[in-house]
């Protein structure tokens, strides 16, 4: 394209390409257009033994079991799982199974303003599931907000996380029982 092509019809879009065309005598500092997926976007980064001491929770989840820690000294059940009991500071904890079925204690839906990486899923339903021993927050899949009521039975499913790392990663979600 020659400079003669900068007609009134086309010049209107020129500024949208680059602010600096290198045509001046000034030195140019180049910035990258994007960076590698920052950790901020990856809510699932802490699952392996290299990154967290509760990796057994994720190993169990990959095997289809929802578990958490219980203190063998004071019997306190924790959620989220711990490495030190917050009640008695014992490190003698064991993983125990949690129920996979529970009831919706509360729920809402996100119709706008989702965090990065979740925008494409909007609107989505999320809630607090009462499993009996614990109440945990969770995404509620295969559900419409208007169809749900407090107390509805829900069951856990394990989902796989796709990218940006090579190793297998999982998380739990819930959905209405059939």
């Amino acid at each position: 394209m020659s400079e003669d092509d900068t007609t009134p019809e086309t010049s209107g879009t020129a500024h949208e390409d680059v602010a600096t065309d290198g045509g001046s005598d000034r030195d140019v500092i180049e910035l990258p257009d994007q960076v590698e997926l920052p950790r901020m976007l990856d809510f699932y980064e802490l699952q392996t033994a290299e990154t967290t001491q509760i990796s057994e929770f994720y190993d169990n989840l990959a095997d289809g079991r929802l578990t958490t820690t219980r203190c063998t000294e004071c019997d306190e059940l924790h959620f989220p799982p711990r490495i030190v009991c917050p009640e008695c500071h014992s490190e003698e904890l064991e993983y125990v199974d949690l129920p996979h079925e529970g009831e919706l204690f509360a729920f809402s839906t996100v119709r706008a303003g989702a965090p990065m990486g979740m925008e494409d899923e909007v609107p989505f339903v999320l809630g607090i599931v009462d499993l009996g021993p614990v109440q945990l927050s969770a995404r509620i899949d295969n559900a419409e907000y208007d169809d749900l009521e407090i107390g509805d039975p829900v069951e856990m499913k394990v989902v796989e996380i796709d990218g940006p790392v090579d190793h297998e990663r999982v998380f739990y979600r819930f959905e209405p029982q059939e």
Binding site: M40, L41, F43, Y44, L46, F79, P80, P86, F105, A106, F107, S108, T109, V110, R111, A112, G113, A114, P115, M116, G117, M118, E119, E121, F124, L126, G127, I128, V134, Q135, L136, S137, A138, R139, Y145, I150, F171
Partner: protein, 396 residues
Amino acid sequence: MTRNVGIVGGGHTKWGVREASYKDLIQEAGKAAFEDVPNVTPDDIEGLFVGSVQPERFAFQTHVAPMVAELIGIDVDSMIARTELACASGQAALRYAWLAIAAGQIDTALVLGVEKMNLPRKYDAEAQTSMANVMDREFDGVNGFNAPPYFAMIAQRHMHEYDTTREQLALVAAKNKTHAANNAFAQFQKEVSVDDVVDSFPLSPPLCLFDCSGVTDGAAGLILMSEEKAREVTDEAAYITGSGQTCLSSNSINNLPSMSAWPQATQAAEQAYEQAGIDDPLKELDVAEVHDCFSISEIVEYEDLGWVEKGEGGQFMEDGRSQLDGDIAVNPRGGLLGCGHPLGATGVSQALEVFNQFRGTVEPERQVPDPETGLIHNLSGSASVHSVMTLARERL
């Protein structure tokens, strides 16, 4: 406490979507605070406390307290710190400045709250990601739990357990946004009706868009002095009579004490009331700036700050008892719903509002008649932390 501490001056920036940087906001608020009390200069400041929550994410800046010292020209003699306690960061800064002066460590402090939250449009989701990180990121934020769905569930549980109505929530938003319509600093300066609230976008039901505070740029500053020093420079001060702050070993969803009550607020209020010698807060408090991050929050606070029986908060609103001419004027500033919520600045702005109400310097449409006592309240994150401070025009 050994010494009385007074707020002797304060300043405020315009709040909203500002064409201004984080550093611009600091300078505007600092200048305004010192202009408010000409007998005090930056040279008098011995301690600096900066409430700011996520400058690392919103402004890509850390170590912000020294930046504030530089921008406002303060040589800090004794104490300098930034407080980060999510939405309660501003009151935390104020509380620690009060403690430092009350303990005799310093005589004069600047408290400055600042947040720059609005990023260029294409980064909207980045701000929401930062807010999701206020919750337990690994187990709650991961599910998309940022503030609107979380407080929507508080509303749902409160409606379920106490028959609080959708209209009662809307009355809170309409009241506060209408106050903000007469506040020159507020982000949202438009009167809003109950129908406007209910008909606004159903963002996270049962909460609609107008039940939610905004994403706000803003700053506010306060100058605190020991009573002895304060009386040398001014005859107008708001004395801090009590201050409480609580967290019940809980932050993530499973460990919260309740989804419809905040016993932490009750404990923090009881601490403050006891220090202030307040037996009947509803009778003895004239004005309150409480943390209405969402409309439901204010209703829960009427109850858990001890003003009305549990479950009666919605009726308290419906009966007009929190209006300017009610039992206690709640959020005459316009609240977080009307003023917006630049996280670290909110508590600072609330205390300044109480001081201005005492001085009679707010817009006449929202002036409480001759108030002598006030309260500010903040919560943070999953409402796991609550802070309550009581103030008086004269030491009680």
